[in-house]
Symmetry: C2
Subunit: 112 residues, 2 copies
DNA sequence: ATTTTATACCTAAGATTTCTATGCATCAAA
DNA sequence: TTTGATGCATAGAAATCTTAGGTATAAAAT
């Protein structure tokens, strides 16, 4: 709660990037991972995460594998072949955006 | 058309930043400015821009001044006092986000 | 022993932002 | 005289995220 610094579309990219680095992960794991990696900067809410995972799966970018750990369910997600390609695209897009915004926002460049 | 996607909330920040640098601007001018500054990377659509300007005005961050140039209307927007403060906040937030995403997305850091 | 916290999944309602598609009007250039 | 650029605007749809719940297991704290 209370983070709100996510920008539209960035969640998908974050998920895909994590799965590119980690082969397979489950939802809760993703939220914890992002929290740690960003030192609490970004908090992925579950209300955003799970629908996003379902959409990525529906779009054919992720595969699911259900595992039972003790008496509890876990849904492991991993990139499909197509998902791997799309990850590369999204990452390139994001980097372009970051570069552009860096330039726009950087105080060194006052925009004339 | 066919440009990159804007990320949620970034348009507001872009507008505010431009007005911080330029004192006053009108809508169409903003779209052209962004297009030039980003070499066509970012295209602000008018369907996004005008509602955004109206919202910033309604929120008390911008003032409007209508000017007549020839026989044509122009609405010049400029930061209010409050708008100047909020601009600083939004810019700081954006920079935090850029830094965080840079870190998440940078291929040099494979996320473990 | 029981309450709280952490783990683990989920959805629905609403707000917000942006995109697409239009519309109107002025003016310069082809 | 038609096209393209300038300049404003809105309506409907798509996409994403927040808020606010819900269910359930397991560990830790009281």
């Amino acid at each position: 709660m209370g983070n709100q610094k996510l920008y539209k579309g960035s969640l998908q990219t974050i998920i895909l990037k994590l799965l590119e680095s980690n082969d397979k992960m489950y939802g809760y794991e993703i939220t914890q991972h992002v929290k740690e990696l960003t030192k609490g900067e970004l908090q992925i809410t579950e209300g955003a995460l799970y629908p996003a995972l379902h959409k990525l799966e529906a779009d054919g970018l992720l595969d699911v594998e259900v595992a039972k750990v003790g008496n509890r369910l876990r849904k492991y997600y991993k990139l499909t072949e197509n998902g791997t390609k799309e990850t590369a695209n999204k990452l390139a897009e994001m980097q372009e955006f970051l570069k552009t915004m860096q330039h726009l926002v950087n105080p060194k460049f006052s925009l004339e």
